[in-house]
Symmetry: D2
Subunit: 435 residues, 4 copies
């Protein structure tokens, strides 16, 4: 438990140490059962082994100390398990972990963990999609400035912004569903299998663990890397939303606000501030996840049938990566649920350039007469005049005798939001189609 | 053209500067045609614009200089194109690039580039899969040591190694096919569209360019990040093969060799060496690609409707990443095609521990009688004795009166390759099923 | 020459391919001369070799093709050089590159390049420091909002901001001066030296090339990694300045502006915008450099006496890293030289919260009477009331009968800039002391 | 406490959560004392505050929960401290944390932590240097193969290898000593200071904490990045040693061995193996640290006077980075202390190419007569013949009537180690000079 457990992370037990050990024990229990079902070990031995596969029986501190000697968690776990079984039944202890290798236990346990995470993320992605769907419906027509390179550009609606976020979330969902990354690892010392873990055993194990069958991927780690990439991409998409909100929360924009909670976002010295605390956490996570993905990619060229170091580099990296991504996921849902939208400030900000942001409308209106380039240059000149003279662009243009029928129309914000509404409606519809 | 063009890269023109500019011109030509087809601009103007969209007409050096001013390649390209059209037909020049924004041009051009790369990689993945299929068939039964943590572990066959590589390649192929990352970008200044680039225009553009329709993804870059991840994963998988081969090429192992070419792999001072030059290039690329992926993930939280810096960070990074990945792809095909396999050395190396590598066989054989742990300990003791006395493990064990019927059988390499052959056959079959 | 040569980079020839080859030729020429001076090869041979070490004599395209075979640039370079010498004097050709190894040539050439870059950066850091010194003097007392977590916090002066930038630049300068990273590489095949490159030869080479003597660092690359880190840190510091400026340029803040140049910062569709184009380039570079540093750190665990891949990963990575860093350096100088500061907007923005930003002043003034926590809470309440009632904080507080003598004084911006001016003066003085 | 605490890390309490909080409390205590000494707050209040600054008084779980609200650890810590003081003395509670900002507390506490780490690393670097010095002396003349690109190249001595490692360690020591990265952070909300934390207070704080004075570096983070880079470089240097040892431990080389400990390095299925477990841990760390450095570099462009996210990204990243680096440090010392060197295998491996590795000697000997290129080609031919005919190179050459006086001499290993011994002696001497 780090000092920042509640700031950056979500409170799920999936990646906790006990859960990890339990999944390894589950591997050993199911292996024994599968081997018994195939007549490789006695059924009674399998039952005793299974009964002994309980986290309460392990001496976890001792296990941790011994990892230093063997180099991975499976070695002391199997040793302890064997002794526990032996204390119950000497005969049965002969049948623990037969034919399997340490990496079989660890990799399969990780697959089971990923499986749990995928369910977790699926539910959370659904929840976030739903919140964004609601926000999009609610603010479908709320006019705000679109901003490019941090400059006011053209009006749009807030619903268009949330709709593009929603699309990113839906793509993440499809991306996760599309991955074929799960697979049982049960291949023995060098991935060649042996008589104790033959095909039939593998099939029974795969079925009982709910994992697809696979050949050895002991040192071919592309599936791990794909899972890492999915998480990195997701964290990036969530970071994009937090970036937007933190910018819109700036005192000078004031268009949205993180939901208030007692004591939330306050500064120790400036009582008036409303800091984007949740955004900061999500952005911090999005700053950290890319490097963790790169570590897992760097760890891919694993030597021969099992790596000396690269495999080991995966363990904690993957855990931190998934925990940060899950933290961002949860926090983004909170952020969106509590979001306070200031429609007045949004509209007020549309007006702050005295019409300059409608310049493109004028350009487009002049293009038939002058062509794109000349229209652009003419309007650029008018803009400079407007700034210099402190007049609105509309006033400046009114004096210029231009071939435009209804100049006023070009300066009405809701006439300048392009296809925002139809785009939003398509996205809302496509979301509903996924339900 | 870098000094190392031929060492790290492949010689395709896909990512070259001229091709990039041609794809942008293609965007402008097809935009005009789509707008003409929808009655937004005159057909004649569209035809003139299209005729002017030729790379030969551009002043590329001037364009590069002007990128410094506008901040992206589309701005000076549209300016030059407009002038070129104007020189031919003043009227037509009014209809260049109407309603589109710079990022529409650049992002769509990148999508077209990715599309070309996907075809390129598909063909290359097929070629590599085929070579690995052939290698696997050829060396299906060639006995070699499996090695874990760089230590001799248990025998397997060389075909099993190449078969697991083959599976990684087939997964890469499916991974690429499964990605839905392509999409037309045609959404105007802030992604809201406008009357000049309405739905109908987008549909025609999408069709003529062979890209799926999409809503604005100007600042939601997950699809780019997924493409980057795919490349990073692929480079890692190829790096894994090069890592194995470079290790197997060690003087002390001598089991495989990069194909000889006149002057290849020589050292300037040691005429006898056969350096893993191609492996070194592939490994260098696999060392560089993870960081490039992380850059593209770091660039995801793009501000508002267009980023000031993060979008710009993508351009060259994506190019370097795809070029390194393609280089590795091509070089791995060469490597595998030319691979020299020394079956004698492989077999000789199996014998070098005087039977120690068969210890697990003995452990397994003793497990029914003693249980896993005790069997393990007994064999460990025998191994230490064998090393100390300089005798083979088999000799040591023979003196120990163990409950093993046929000790010799446990020391025959081909009896110790587990399910290598059946695993290989499954993988070969699954490859053939993809054809 | 990439499409974006002028956007992200500076135009120096230091890292260009011809310069790199010339530095390798310089190595060969000086090696021959040093060996002649030590009586190891004939002086006449050395003179002929030196005369042949001219870039014009090389067939560069052929050299590039042959790098593919030998795996590094030195092998074909030495081959070509030997042939060139042989065409002039068969006897002399026997004395080319005697006793040296490829990596000696390449690493030493890189050291010579770094030496040139250090001079380049030293001059540029001086130039940037000077511009920041001038900006700091000019805007020493220009009141602006300090902003934390993107929220208005407390007033300060613009000079304080530029002064902290200046300090970062001065630290970078000292950091570069403090590095002991340069060293001659001349150690032969495995770093053990030999009679042809004995100590005396090394000393003469080191002297003629202006490099410190060093023992073999063929596969101990910490000095390279330190150079990379220096560049990464510098790019980050420059990115920080660009980040600040791009945020201050936001339409809603409008406090500073990149200098105008004809056509600079315009948008293709929004003629009124003034995009932070230079900032975007510097930020793009700062997004890319961290990953390149990580590549060079990842490349450190090089195998034995020369790596198969990690050494190769350094070459282009180091070049891109230094070129991006130099680009940022140059662009930041331009940015600061042309910076337009809008003092009116700065002051106006100080007033936009109707006094809320002075809340800490009130807190501090109330602390003697109420204690920090209670004072904070009281002021927090007043702030909420001010926002709710649309009144200034000063008005709200005036109705609350507080133990504060002169409430007005607390709301005068220049009374709230803390020690800004004395801090600035110290920094200006410390800069002057460095001259 | 992670599952892998003992595998990857060292057991020091420096970075533990309690220590971190204690350093923050120390900041508050010394701040109060410094302010009392300057007459800003009553001495009695300072004494009470100091007495209350005890970790035992904090409700750490509550503090963690509240970090979620305020966004950093200092806010709830100051709140708790104020309440604790208030429970003792209402008057004194008014003087807690006066004038300081959260980041002052956190950054200064981190500086104090870095200060402790620097002492820790200094002692460890001394210890490692000493072990390497002893190894170098012991194996000064132990002949082994030098290997380049994983191929046998030329003989050298094992002492030369350890001597180059020693030099890297000594450079790391100098690098750490040369850094000027420590500095008090005490600048208030926006870095401008205020009357409660004026110069005199800063001076007293700096003195009592043993930190240099500094102006605000709230958002200029180059010093943090330099510390991170130092750690990344160090981990890379240690990784290089572990890489070498893990390669030398390969069954086929068998030249060195990690020290045996009961149960250490065993495999769960292969009782005969001696896995490079410690090397694997150090290599895993070296695979992870580069990405963490890149995160800290990516976090440099912090917005304005305090960042929303990038500052937050530093906290855990820096902790993980320093803990992994410290882990590698400790483990490398263990590794070197226990290293078993097999001098017979080293010498035997020198002979395994039947003289091919002496080819360069022959080349050099022929150069005066034939020139470098022709000599090289001639020897290359002889090598091929040797391999083809299964004869030693010496035998082949003996039949060729070459202008070499004493062919035998060229094939004596100790004649082929170049300047290994003198290089070693220089390095040993330079180490002794540092004592």
């Amino acid at each position: 438990m780090s000092l920042y457990t509640y700031l950056f992370y979500t409170q799920t037990s999936i990646a906790q140490e006990r859960q990890s050990l339990e999944r390894m024990l589950r591997f050993e229990a199911e292996l024994a059962q599968a081997q018994a079902a195939c007549g490789i070990i006695p059924q009674q031995a399998a039952d005793i082994i299974q009964a002994c596969c309980r986290i309460e029986f392990l001496d976890i501190e001792k296990l941790k100390l011994e990892i230093r000697l063997g180099g991975n968690a499976a070695i002391p776990l199997v040793q302890q398990l064997t002794r526990i079984v032996k204390n119950n039944d000497v005969e049965a202890s002969r049948y623990v972990h037969v034919g399997a290798t340490s990496q079989d236990v660890i990799d399969t346990a990780t697959m089971l963990e990923i499986q749990e995470w995928m369910q977790w993320f699926d539910a959370k992605l659904n929840e976030l999609a739903h919140v964004l769907f609601e926000l999009t419906k609610q603010y479908r027509s709320t006019i705000m400035m679109g901003r490019t390179l941090l400059q006011q550009a053209k009006p749009m609606t807030f619903g268009l912004k949330t709709a593009t976020w929603l699309e990113a979330v839906l793509r993440s969902k499809r991306r996760m569903k599309g991955m074929e990354i799960l697979g049982l690892q049960l291949q023995g010392a060098v991935g060649s299998g042996n008589s104790a873990i033959q095909k039939e055993v593998q099939q029974k194990m795969a079925q009982s663990l709910g994992l697809p069958l696979a050949h050895s991927w002991h040192s071919n780690r592309d599936n791990f890397a794909e899972w890492a990439s999915f998480l990195g991409i997701l964290s990036g998409s969530l970071g994009k939303m937090a970036k937007d909100i933190s910018l819109l929360m700036q005192t000078e924009l004031g268009e949205v606000m993180e939901g208030a909670a007692d004591g939330k976002g306050g500064s120790s010295t400036m009582p008036h501030k409303r800091n984007p605390v949740t955004c900061a956490a999500i952005l911090a996570n999005a700053t950290r996840t890319p490097a963790l993905v790169s570590t897992l990619l760097s760890a891919m060229p694993q030597e021969q049938e099992r790596s000396a170091g690269l495999w080991h580099a995966e363990w904690e990296t993957l855990t931190t990566l998934v925990e940060l991504s899950a933290g961002s996921m949860d926090k983004t849902i909170d952020l969106m649920k509590g979001l306070e939208v200031n429609e007045e400030r949004m509209l007020a900000n549309v007006g702050m350039t005295h019409g300059l942001i409608f310049a493109e409308n004028v350009s487009l209106a002049l293009t038939p007469a002058y062509g794109k380039l000349q229209a652009h240059e003419l309007v650029e000149k008018a803009c400079k005049q407007s700034i210099k003279q402190g007049k609105s662009l509309q006033e400046v243009l009114a004096t210029m005798d231009l071939p435009i029928a209804d100049l006023d129309r070009l300066f009405v914000p809701k006439n300048s939001i392009g296809n925002s509404l139809s785009t939003i409606d398509e996205i809302l519809q496509s979301y509903e189609n996924t339900l």
